[in-house]
Structure formats: C-alpha cells, structure tokens
Amino acid sequence: MKIRWFNTLPVIIFIALLLCLWLGLGRDTNLLPSALLEKPMPVFTLPDLNNQPLSEKQWQGKVALVNIWATWCLPCRTEHPILLKLAEQGVTIYGLNYKDDYQDALLWLNQRGNPYQSVARDVGGLVAIDWGVYGVPETFVIDKKGNIRYRLVGILTEEAWQKQLKPLMDTLQEE
C-alpha cells in the first residue's frame, strides 16, 4: 500500500507539537527580556540619599550594574550580601530605591552596608516603570555609553553573576 504524504501530516504535526511543548518545559515564563536592550538608560532626575538631584548622566561612563531594590522586598535581603561582595571586588553598582521610605532606606544601608556608588530614590515608582521594571529586585547591566545591555529579573545570585553578568561585563569593558 502506498503511503500518501498527507496521511503522515497529522503525525508530523503531532511530533512538532510535542517538540514545541518539550522546549517550553522548564522555561520560566515570568522572566521577560528587557524592551530596552541596546537602548540608552531612560532619562530621569531623582533625589539621592542626601536629597541632592541625581540624573542618569551621573551613571554614564562605566560598565556598571543598576540594581532596583527596596527595604520592603524580602528577596533583596538575600541579595544584599552578594552586592556587598561584588562592590568590594570593585564592581560599580548604582541603586534605584523603588517605592521606599527614605528613613527605612537609610537605616537599611547603615545597618547592612552600602554597596552602591549612588542611590536614586524613586518614591513614586515612575522611573522604574520607564526602565520596564515589574518586580524587585531587578538588575541591569549598562555599558560605558550608558546603554542597557542586560536585565536580570530576581535575585542576583552567585551563579547568575558567574555565568551571566561577569562574562558580559568583562566583554563590555573591552568595547
């Protein structure tokens, strides 16, 4: 009996579907790539920890991390020691303090240590929206020109640093 090509079509479609579903397994759909990749940092002017105006221009010039954090954010507690360690190693980290209380933020940094070169206080949360932030913590990698090159959603773990951020930042240094 001759097998016609279109008789095998359902089987092919079924296998293709299985393959698609298989590839989808283990993918975390909560992690979104940034819409701002390869684009400059959003323009902003916010008060810093001394209530002095701070703009994105002051974050330009170096390959750096921009970390979105808040004292009310539980995962940030886990992340903080890792940021401190990186800062000690000479990594430039800027902070965007998201929808937080000024005094709480000061207390947090005094008690736990301050890994940030400077902190912009986004009390209203609008600048974070410009960055496309949808949860805390999030960490962006910016290049020397101030372009966004990577976004990490969730805790910056030792593993994420070694596997993703560090290699990227090393290559960005060469640019």
Binding site: L9, P33, W131, Y134
Partner: protein
C-alpha cells in the same frame, strides 16, 4: 426559600453595580468616550506581575501605577496608539494581549489559516476521489 434566592440575586446584582461605580469614582473622566477608551485599553494590556490578568483586573501595585499612567494619558487626550506605545516601549510587545502582525508573528497569525486551508485541500481531494470511484 424562594425569598432567599431573590435576595441573593439582588445582592449579587448590587455588588456588580458597586464595583462598576468604584472604577468610575477612582478614574473619573470628562467624557464617556474617554471612559470607554480607558476601559478598552486597560482590558487589552497584560499585568506584568500576574500575567494572566489584564491591567483592568489586577490589584497588584504595579498594575495600579500603570492604570494611573493610562488614566493621565487618556485624560490628556492621547490616541490608543500613543498610549499602547508608552507601554510597549517599556515592557515590550508581551504586554499586548493581541500581538501585532509583523515578521516574527507571521507564523503565529498564519498557521491557523494555513492549517485550515490544508484541511480543506485534504478533505476536498478525499471527497473528489470518492465521487469518481
């Protein structure tokens, strides 16, 4: 017993009216057109925190902030396109429940049509062959 059913029915009716009124109180508009635009757009956008809820449905603080941004923009009289652009610029096309037809979505939009046509051809050939037998 019937009385209880009626009472229950009235209560559910009442709560939905209250919910609708709450939305209108929270986001008062000058014109019904703007009101309609706001309701329409907030139903078309995804809440990023709880991804299977629309901006209109979600109580997440981020959704509230984004609704506020939409409210301000609708009041300013911005077009649907401008407002949707504000969101896609920041959050990518993932925020849209209806993805636009473009290069990387041709497969998505085209596949159902292709499968339908393929089915028509296959069934058609089948039918024709049976008739000629």
């Amino acid at each position: 017993m019937k009385f209880i059913y009626h009472l229950f029915f009235l209560m559910t009716l009442f709560t939905s009216v209250v919910a609708q009124a709450a939305v209108e109180d929270e986001y008062p508009f000058d014109t019904p057109t703007q009101q309609a635009q706001f309701m329409r757009l907030s139903g078309q956008l995804r809440c990023l925190v709880c991804q299977n809820q629309s901006l209109a449905d979600s109580d997440a603080t981020l959704a509230q902030d984004l609704r506020q941004q939409m409210y301000v923009r609708v009041k300013e009289g911005q077009s649907d396109q401008d407002i949707l652009h504000y969101f896609t610029e920041r959050y990518g096309q993932f925020v849209l429940y209806t993805p636009p037809v473009q290069e990387n979505t041709y497969l998505l939009w085209g596949l159902p049509l292709f499968l339908f046509l393929a089915a028509v051809v296959i069934i058609g050939r089948h039918v024709v062959r049976r008739k000629t037998l």
